[in-house]
């Protein structure tokens, strides 16, 4: 394999991996905070992309402001979801809540499908796909944008969680809700904001994905891959979700060289099963003493 091809695969893999990482992180964030696997998460990815589409189509916004609007609106949608669906069902068995989130996600998807007839659309104003040259290597600038934006956002989130009081409050609530409440943290507010952040991240991922795959109703399926990534990284670990996403993207890119789409997916799942059997709690997850 030549350096040029390896480099291209690396960039492509890192780019899809960053998107997986964003989605996986959002999923892990909500899971850590509430113990709920948010099945609507994938549809927030789709929602973000569609909202960007609507912003540009109906309001003439260019890509950057459309992105901002879409992310904020999606964050709001996430907040609403926590307030109207998750919170009332707090006493219900966990499975019920999970299916409720699923129903919400599917409803969102249905509404989007009813609002826009085109099967595949693009948001105008994104960078062209024409490869640019960096020395002897050529690379698709889309990928670079995705990587840049993702890394900046992930960096900002890292700082947010470590240094801002809200970020610390969110981490506290993730660790132990009762303890957080006892030290005076407004748990309800934090949970709403956690959902909002998670939805916003999903929306951003969708908007970054849009130039690569187009805007279509099935974009939400990326959440399955993000789930694999999060599990690989260890679902109890936020950095793990990010690392898992990046690794998955890279693995897919390089395996795509040898295997076609279907076999590659099979291989990825096979790897996941083996990984879980060897290390049941993922790369960074905490393990419990098990003895049966």
């Amino acid at each position: 394999m030549s350096i040029a091809i390896a480099f291209q695969l690396f960039i492509a893999g890192l780019s899809t991996g960053s998107i997986y990482a964003l989605v996986a992180l959002g999923l892990a964030l909500v899971f850590k905070a509430t113990g709920i696997l948010n099945f609507a998460h994938g549809e927030f990815v789709t929602l973000g992309a569609y909202l960007g589409l609507f912003a540009s189509y109906y309001f003439g916004l260019t890509y950057p402001p459309a992105l901002l609007v879409a992310v904020l609106l999606s964050a709001l949608a996430g907040l609403l979801m926590e307030w109207s669906v998750v919170r009332p069902l707090i006493t219900a068995p966990p499975f019920t809540v999970v299916i409720a989130t699923l129903a919400v996600g599917l409803s969102v998807k249905n509404i989007l499908r009813l609002s826009w007839q085109e099967n595949l659309s693009t948001i105008p104003g994104t960078i062209s796909h024409a490869p640019i040259a960096i020395g002897p290597l050529s690379v698709n600038p889309q990928y670079l944008v995705v990587i840049a934006v993702s890394f900046v956002l992930l960096g900002m989130l890292g700082l947010f969680f470590k240094f801002t009081s809200l970020g610390i409050a969110m981490r506290a609530v993730s660790e132990d809700q009762r303890a957080a409440r006892l030290v005076g943290i407004n748990v309800e507010l934090v949970l709403m904001l956690t959902f909002a952040t998670s939805a916003g991240m999903a929306a951003l991922a969708g908007l970054l994905l849009a130039p690569l795959t187009g805007v279509h109703i099935e974009m939400g399926w990326i959440v399955v891959k993000a789930l694999v990534a999060a599990v690989l990284g260890g679902f109890t670990s936020l950095p793990g979700a990010v690392v898992g996403g990046l690794l998955l993207g890279l693995a897919e890119a390089f395996c795509g060289l040898f295997l076609d789409g279907v076999t590659r997916d099979l291989g990825v799942f096979g790897l996941l099963i083996i990984a879980l059997l060897v290390r049941p709690h993922g790369l960074f997850g905490r393990s419990e003493a098990r003895r049966v």
């Binding site: 019920t96 249905n110 789930l227 694999v228 679902f235 279907v262 096979g270 099963i273 879980l276 049966v292």
Partner: protein
């Protein structure tokens, strides 16, 4: 025919138990009478609903009682369907032999999924089962000679004494199998095995320290539920007459989970009514055309809000209500020992 296991309960429980028995009997009566009042096409739909009931029963035992999360139920339905097709079309076996064999075949594959279940739990097990589901989908597409690949495969109706079964006849076959499998599942639930399922679910460590063979219990749970799914598949294939590989994906897996959640996790009668209820809601929303899916999902959300513990949760609430109405009893006062 084995009689039903009948545990003795307290007064309120016994009353609810009797009400449930009455409800079940009435349901079977309606089921038997249905074909005489209903169009042939609707009978096919009713048969399909019963097939879903069978899957739901097996699944509620696995997930609700034994606590083993699995998204792979459609895979075992698929295995049952393809096996019965292969056994009858290619090997020429009689359907009446092939059908139970297909269930057993699916059960054997269920054991395959059981192995990772010994090492991973909860959410991670769900992921493994998801991988199993996807792998089966991929295998269905690649093993074209057996499965017809993406194009699917046609399945003839079975014959009895030479004549091919109509929707009317086949409905009774499906109904009979459903009733039998329901009774069997109820037996298992009330048996020591059912108790072991629930003990393992409550705490594997505590169960083990009471001598339970946790690995064996989990394995049996998987085998049991995949047997049910396999039989469902073996009934489903000739019912519809055609196996479409797209039927066996994540969407169907979620439908199955919805059946048992609406019915109440772990409840065998709940699984029956959960599957039937969602089937009815599905049929009712058909008229809304492009809004059908949205209305269905909103209806599902509404159901979950109204009965978060599922239909069997209603029964539990009734028991509590009845107890409270009877006022403090000897039971309650002695609770404070």
């Amino acid at each position: 025919m084995a009689c039903l296991a009948a545990p003795r309960r307290g007064v309120s429980e016994r009353a609810t138990e009797q009400a449930l028995t009455f409800l079940l009997a009435a349901t079977v009566a309606v089921g038997v009478a249905l074909p005489f009042f209903v169009h042939s096409y609707l009978l096919q739909m009713a048969s399909f609903a019963l097939v879903n009931v069978i899957v739901a029963i097996g699944l509620t035992v696995l997930i609700g009682q034994a606590g083993q999360v699995s998204l792979a139920s459609p895979s075992f339905v698929a295995i049952g369907a393809y096996l019965v097709t292969h056994l009858t079309k290619v090997l020429g076996l009689s359907y009446w032999v092939a059908m139970p064999l297909s269930g057993i075949g699916a059960a054997a594959f269920g054991a395959v999924l059981g192995f990772p279940a010994l090492r991973v739990r909860g959410f991670y097990l769900a992921i493994v089962s998801l991988a199993f589901l996807q792998t089966t989908s991929i295998l269905i597409e690649t093993l074209q000679t057996y499965t017809g690949g993406v194009r699917g495969i046609s399945v003839p109706r079975p014959t009895i004494f030479g004549s091919r079964l109509t929707n009317f006849d086949f409905y009774f076959v499906v109904l009979a199998v459903t009733v039998i499998l329901f009774a069997v599942a109820r037996n298992v639930s009330r048996s020591p095995l059912g108790r072991s399922f629930r003990a393992v679910h409550a705490s594997e460590n505590v169960a083990a320290s009471q001598g339970a063979d946790v690995a064996r219990v989990k394995m049996i749970a998987f085998v049991f539920s995949s047997f049910y799914a396999g039989i469902a598949g073996a009934l489903f294939a000739p019912l519809i007459g055609f196996i479409d590989p797209l039927e066996f994906g994540l969407v169907t897996a979620i439908h199955h989970i919805v059946f048992i959640i609406v019915g109440g996790l772990g409840s065998v009668p709940g699984a029956v009514y959960g599957a039937l209820t969602m089937g009815v809601i599905g049929e009712l929303t058909n008229g809304f055309k492009e809004y059908k899916e949205l209305i269905f999902n909103l209806a599902l959300l509404a159901v979950l809000f109204v009965i978060p513990r599922g239909l069997s949760g209603i029964a539990a609430s009734l028991v509590k209500f009845a107890r409270r109405r009877r006022g403090p009893s000897a039971e309650q006062t002695v609770r404070e020992v």
